[in-house]
Amino acid sequence: MWTFLARRIAATIPVLLVVAVLVFLMLRLTPGDPAAILAGDAATTEQIAAIRASLGLDRSLAAQFVIWFGNLLSGDLGQSFYFRMNVTTLIGQRLEPTLALATLTIVLAVAVAVPLGVLAAWRFGGWFDRALMGFSVLGFSIPVFVLAYILIYVVSLKLGWLPVQGYQRLENGVLPFLRHLILPSITLSIVYIALIARVTRASVLEALGEDYIRTARAKGLPELRVLVHHALANAAVPIATVIGIGVALLIGGVVVTESVYAIPGLGRLTVDAVLARDFPTIQGVILFFSFAYVMVNLLVDLSYVFFDPRIRY
């Protein structure tokens, strides 16, 4: 197990290296000049050139890469061209909203989707199963922003139950924190509920066709125990995989939801940085995402050990 862990962690290094080089090159090869945006509308060509020089962008690609990579090796992601803050600090500021939204969304999605999927599989072909399949199609089809606007209109504006927008940090209190996250989480969770419910249904359905289920029922076990301890437990591996993918996608930032609900998360930071050509921030954020994806994948692989005793590393 420890060898497996060590090998997987070591494997992240070449992945991150490749990502670092690719991102660096792609940014400098795409059109756009951060100096021009920084200078403002009334700036002259000379002023823009001076800003470019002060940012080190007038140096050769190789020189820029060596400087940036050297800093990276010492854990320094650089300083944002715009905010005059370390990229690490910027990411740190956005981490709480992103993780909070991701966590609440996944918890909600799993709490709703897994029971629904199990029920649908148990009552395969029945009205509930068909209703769930219909719902999942809807869940995949409705654009997130449309759903967001509908929820805001009904819940916030008409009923006045929850705020329209914004994020309250945990330090301001648990209830304000939760109140501002409920609608965004529900909005985001719909597509994940649809996805996880479908995968759960398919996996549990397959498990329910196995001989050990017949044996369990023949032994007189309650149906709930059969479903949860025998069917669901053996169907958990693909479900865990999909949940892991969902977590990784959520950490990567969900810019539409963040924009509609004014949540200052990593998604919004990424988009703003891309539009402004804030190279250090873009590079830092993408490296962070790569690292997060690799770690989430590792955790998902490790979780298989708990679900399937046959899996050993």
């Binding site: 059109p31 756009g32 000049d33 951060p34 021009a36 945006i37 920084l38 200078a39 403002g40 509308d41 009334a42 700036a43 002259t44 060509t45 000379e46 002023q47 823009i48 001076a50 800003i51 020089a53 002060s54 944002s80 715009y82 905010f83 005059r84 803050m85 910027l90 500021q93 956005r94 606007y149 805001i152 916030s156 504006l157 006045g160 139950w161 929850l162 705020p163 329209v164 927008q165 914004g166 994020y167 309250q168 301001n172 209190g173 209830l175 304000p176 939760l178 109140r179 409920i182 963040e258 924009s259 509609v260 609900y261 004014a262 200052p264 919004r268 703003d272 539009l275 402004a276 050509r277």
Partner: protein, 533 residues
Amino acid sequence: MPSVARTLTLALLAAAGLAVTGLAPAQNDPKVLRIVPHSNLNILDPIWTTQYMARNHGYMIYDTLFGTDEKSQVKPQMVEAWTVSPDNRLWTFTLRPGLGFHDGAPVTGEDVIASIQRWGKRDAMGQKLMTFVDRMDSPTPQTFRIFLREACGFVLEALGKPSSNVPFIMPKRVAETPADKQIEDYVGSGPYVFRRDEFKPGDKAVYVKNAKYVPRKEPASGTAGGKVVYIDRVEWNLALRDAQAQVNALAKGEIDILERPAFESYEQLKKADGVALVNKDPLGFQYMGRFNHLQPPFNNQKIRQAALAAMSQEPFLRAQVGVKEFYRPCPSMFTCGTPYGSAKGSDIQSKSNMKKAQELLKASGYDGTPIVILKPTDLASIQKLPDVAAQLLRQAGFKVDLQAMDWNTVVTRRAKKDPPAQGGWNIFLTAWVAPDIWNPLTNAAVGAQGEKSWFGWPTDPEIEKLRDEFARATDEPKKKALAEAIQARAFEVATHAPLGEYVNPLAARKNVTGFVIGPGDIYWNLKKGDRGG
């Protein structure tokens, strides 16, 4: 087990109920003003950049020697009194007593001189002023002097300039930061103090009342007069950028002021309970289409004139603004309703029609070279202008290549002097706030120094001669006559196409009162009632 499940269910329901109904934070504190500004605040040095958000940030925490009131008149602000020598070459200023920086240090003449010098290296009007300045000194802490090599007529207009770059006064140690580097110390002497520790880019910026600030006694007007602060804390919500979400938040009272609503939002805002529209900047903005004078076909004056004749203002305003009460055609390059605004020389555009434009183009010898127009896809405030320009120019007989890209790419390309096929351009469109274009010195678009000019790089020695005379003129009638002559020549040369003016009233909760009329986004003098409106 069932009792455990029941307990858990009840607990969840109770938590949900609490979350939904109660214990929300005090969102409508009457001493806290929650504002959604028109863009993100990313640069905190208002001398280093001309971005309007940096300018607005500057107005919160810095003060200025002079201000401009709602009638576009320059009035003293930090200055208590000043004298001018008979030959107009020695200006002596005395500062108001009681001026102090946020760190407790008094404002002195040395701070002023350092600030003017740094500003004079970055700002176009400041650079022009510095060409007249021989030296500056501060004989006493309360006074400073400007010695001019020769008289010029715009010292006070420059020092009271209301828009980017505003000559904000900073502590000497801060103002000595090289002009090509950003400052990192945000101590000012203005009505608010910047809470650097609470600043989260893309999330919020926070300003608290400067309890030691001594405002002038006159009523506030524009960037002049008394900057009295009745609010303890101002929060700029930098995360709320979706237009519909902004409207919803204002309607629900989660924010107090929406600085620049999208034009499509006004119908909803007019119907929202407790919301008022405030036109606090009646001079507003002007749209502009800029030609590239270096590259064909607009290196040909007659072709530029044909394009100018085709680009009548009403279609641009109707498409981009849409709300008739918010826009007006204006034949002037220098903001209608201001001292130098006039219709002189504008007939080529204002009294033209498409048939005339077509005739002018035919007579110009245009050979069908495509016009590359840059269209920003992510800037709602000017996004529709390029489409209108393309349509009008096609109708006039031009071949048009409308290229869509994000704003960053637009600003990158417009700085390039290469042919359009190699990454250059022929036309880009933009908008200016009134003070940025209201006289021949601030209006970058009428500058005609060739490649040293603003993007577009027109060359015309006559315009430059007239601008130089304007800078030297000290009496107002002469300045007005010169401004008219400059404008007439600029229309003849077709430096650019003014495309009409518009206002963008802010939307606010009705319990917020005291808005100061004048250019810019100004947040002193405001009071907030207890009730959310």
